[in-house]
Symmetry: C2
Subunit: 227 residues, 2 copies
DNA sequence: GTCTATACAAGGATAGAC
DNA sequence: GTCTATCCTTGTATAGAC
């Protein structure tokens, strides 16, 4: 089983890794643009600079390739889903939440559109993820938001609708990029634009939900030294 | 040229209108779900209860059918785009704006998803509409919002980002319906849910943008009689 | 006016040459 | 390990039977 004619053998050779990366990048673009059915292996292969059958050789099938891309996007997503507790400062948490969502949209617009396309089509591949893992995540954050509201740190808004508000308003700049650019008349949004938008959304959400700073607690040394 | 064997002859017979309606309804669903390329005339025909070639017979081509659906959605859209002036009450205008957007999402979810799919794919058919007609519309509303800010009726937020915020957060319930249902664990959102969401979004936007009621003007009789 | 039959390209996937 | 040739299905579109 040992093959000595290939130096970097871990997880397939270096050429394999390079080709796989090229295929994944191209496939993300094409799937994002045309959806699962509308995307063709032909186009993916062309954009990856490989013959059509190599895509299948490396990825097995169109379906496997698509699922792999979805999973990769979910991982990026999860990497930013830090835990929060009722002890945290609501304004800081919401601000960080909005900022990280904007950064994902900025860094992975095709991934965001791929996900959007999947949901738009009724989420045939992601249904159990949505009603399982993601639902649990949302419910746990919602519980924290509710406790903040109970403690008077923010208005008693429904946390679920708040989370959807943040998701939709941030993803919009990746998913509806074509519309944003058409209406603003630009080639692309600059980093400064995105900073401005982030500040705008943060401001509206925090002010709109009546978020207040928590009173510093005497029993918390960290809070005391900071002031 | 006169044909007397058909009673309701205006714009084609009654059967024709019925078939066209069935095709348009089916096509909207299928295009919304799979995108332009991913949609097949086969599936559209099946859902319309007609043989495949009748779809082409009535609509000419896949492309024409798609364009016709987009135009129909733009018309529904335009029907709700009432004019506003700097004299209007900002809170009322924003509230009505959010409400009408939510109603379109509610009444035409497939149309909303069709539009979303078109934008997601880079808006190949709608580019000039976005950077022309729609851009002008947005700029004119933005001017009104700016004047409100200048007159101290709301915070000086960028009107363009505000419009995108309203669009994205309302459309989300049509476009990402699969996600919303998965996370909330329901079959469908009720009218009461949508009323709650509308109130929530209105509240956050108005409060978040610091919208204030305009001072009643002495020279305006209508305002005086109302108080 | 409406549907069946068919043309012809493009799709995903596999077998086998290199 | 990589690419060419090929199979079979499905797609859009049209011609012609009913």
């Amino acid at each position: 089983m040992a093959k000595v004619d290939n130096i970097s053998e871990q997880e397939g050779g270096a050429i394999r890794r390079r080709n796989e990366r090229a295929i994944l990048a191209a496939a993300e673009r094409v799937f994002a643009r045309h959806g699962y059915r509308g995307a063709s292996l032909q186009e993916i292969a062309e954009q990856a600079g490989l013959p059509k059958s190599n895509v299948l050789y490396y990825m097995g099938s169109k379906r496997k390739l698509y699922v792999r891309l979805l999973e990769r996007m979910m991982e990026r997503w999860n990497a930013m889903l830090d835990d929060i507790s009722p002890e945290d400062d609501p304004a800081e948490v919401l601000s960080a939440f909005i900022r990280s969502k904007m950064q994902i949209s900025r860094r992975h617009p095709e991934g965001s559109r791929l996900f959007a396309s999947e949901i738009l089509g009724g989420a045939p591949f992601l249904q159990e993820y949505l009603s399982g893992e993601l639902r649990d995540w949302v419910q746990s954050r919602a519980a924290v938001f509710r406790e903040w509201a109970d403690r008077g740190l923010m208005d008693p808004v429904d946390p679920i609708w708040l989370i959807f508000l943040i998701w939709s308003s941030t993803q919009h700049y990746a998913d509806f990029e074509a519309q944003v650019l058409g209406i603003t008349g630009r080639d692309a949004l600059s980093d400064e634009d995105l900073e401005k938008i982030t500040e705008f959304l943060t401001r509206v959400v925090i002010k709109g939900c009546g978020v207040r700073h928590p009173a510093p607690r005497a029993e918390d040394p960290a809070t005391l030294t900071e002031r």
